[in-house]
């Protein structure tokens, strides 16, 4: 589904502030994979998502989506295959427009022509869709989205993203800005939608329990590299304790290597 080959991303190339945030990254995401992505701040998780969705371009390397090279394609061209949800609950919806307008906008991807699709049957199907959220939004379709709470907006964004049928779902800490109760609601919905639709998903999370509980694969990033990649059966056996052990082992080894380099 997604293949990244030898990706390198350097910001401020050729300036004093030059910083390489992704170095030599290779990953193949299979169709139907649900990958949780963990790593400390600055590990390159969001940069990885930006590279996949095309809001930034790699300094080196190739990106393939569904077998087609998209390395230099702008974001809007790849968007047909990708649904992305951000940490900020405001980022996925248009505040000053009604729920039904928002749902109409996201109901199909690609260029829009000036004809009217927002018909009564469309409104009814939107009503059915928002019922799945169990938040009582079905009676508020004509209200502006900015009257909703953060949790409601993020749940709506999730629903809108999923119903636009993307091939790949990118979740960038999409529950991190919500209170624990709403975060749980949105997380439960996420799990349900991904299972129902069998979506290929990458999810960045800071919640170790989520990272271990969800998905069939876990990757840990550190300083722009994937240092841990646990798949399928091994992922099922994985515990928080084990993950921390693996991380410290790798870190220790790195540290020793560095020392060897310095002394020689």
């Amino acid at each position: 589904m997604i293949r990244l080959e030898k990706i390198k991303k350097t910001f401020g190339l050729g300036t004093a502030g030059e910083k390489t945030v992704i170095r030599n990254l290779d990953i193949v995401v299979e169709k139907g994979d649900f990958i949780t992505v963990v790593g400390s701040n600055g590990a390159g998780k969001t940069t990885l998502f930006n590279l996949i969705s095309g809001s930034i371009f790699p300094t080196q390397g190739k990106i393939l989506i569904k077998g087609k090279e998209v390395t230099q394609d702008p974001e809007y061209k790849r968007a047909k295959a990708i649904g992305r949800i951000f940490q900020d609950p405001l980022a996925g919806t248009a505040s000053n427009m009604t729920l039904e307008d928002n749902m109409m906008i996201t109901s199909n991807k690609g260029f829009k022509w000036p004809w009217i699709s927002l018909t009564r049957t469309m409104r009814q199907s939107f009503q059915e869709q928002v019922k799945q959220l169990e938040m009582g939004l079905e009676s508020r379709l004509k209200e502006n989205v900015n009257t909703l709470s953060g949790g409601q907006r993020q749940a709506l964004t999730l629903l809108m993203t999923v119903t636009s049928n993307p091939d790949i779902l990118l979740l960038d800490e999409h529950t991190a800005a919500l209170d624990p109760r709403n975060a749980k609601i949105v997380m439960d919905l996420t799990k349900r939608f991904i299972n129902e639709k069998g979506l290929t998903t990458l999810m960045v999370t800071h919640n170790m329990n989520h990272a271990i509980e969800f998905g069939n694969r876990l990757i840990m990033m550190d300083q722009g590299e994937i240092i841990i990649d646990v798949k399928q059966e091994a992922k099922k056996q994985l515990t928080k304790q084990r993950l921390i052990e693996m991380f410290s082992e790798i870190k220790k080894r790195d540290f020793e290597n560095d020392e060897v380099l310095l002394t020689s």
């Binding site: 992305r84 980022a91 000053n96 109409m104 906008i105 996201t106």
Partner: protein, 296 residues
Amino acid sequence: MIEGIFVEGLIYSIMALGVFFTFRILDFPDLTVDGSFPMGAVIMAACLHQGVNPVSGLVMAFSGGVMAGVVTAEIHNRLKVPHLLAGILTMTMLYSVNIRILSNRANLPLLRVDTILTKLHAWSDGFIPPEWASLIFFILVVIVIKKGLDLFFITDMGLMFGALGNNEQMVRTQGVNPAILKSIGVGLSNGLVALSGAFAAQYQGFADVNLGQGIVVSGLASVMLGEFLLRSNRISILTLRVVLGTILFKAIMYLGRYYGYYINMTPNDLKLIAGILIIISLAAANIRNRKEKARS
């Protein structure tokens, strides 16, 4: 005089609808308006002097405005220039272009040619007085344009413009190139502005390249005044209040022009009044927002 206020208000409301489109829907503060409004006027005048029929003249004026808007949007898109600067560039260039369109003249009277209004008056002569015929005509024109816009904004493309003004990321996520939407939107907006200029020239009986000075400010003032009249999130009400706001704005300007001398005001002070109106509207909107925040 009262029908004069309404006719002028209606003519300028077409321009204000264009300003509303860019400033409020697209969130693209577009200053091209100061150039595209007289552009519409001079294209219309040039067409009429060439013997082109008025309806074709209006179409030409509209098209000219669209092109001006597209130029602004493309300068912004391709060269990554801020929208304000892109608008000022086009507006300044249009000043020269407009003089060219008038064959190196700064103004052109329309007294000896048949305008859409003289044709209308010739037809209505005998059963409706000319002022009232103009009023009815412009009411119909504005209704058609307003209804057309209302419909346009609920189409899939129209909704995309709303999304663009709210959240550009959302447009990209939907697989639409925001640059193309901006060109279409700013183009259409300036088409309306030029159309308004074409009507204004015919109503006043002359076209002048300086007709556009401060027009964007008066359009914005009209939009803001309208926002105090009605509150809603329905597009039909939003466009209606632009029209009402423009008529109110024109009424205030009329009062200033005819009764201003009581307080030592001259017509030269009107632009100052327009600016002050905007500042008052902004301040009032600020206070209202703060109150609402405090309540919620």
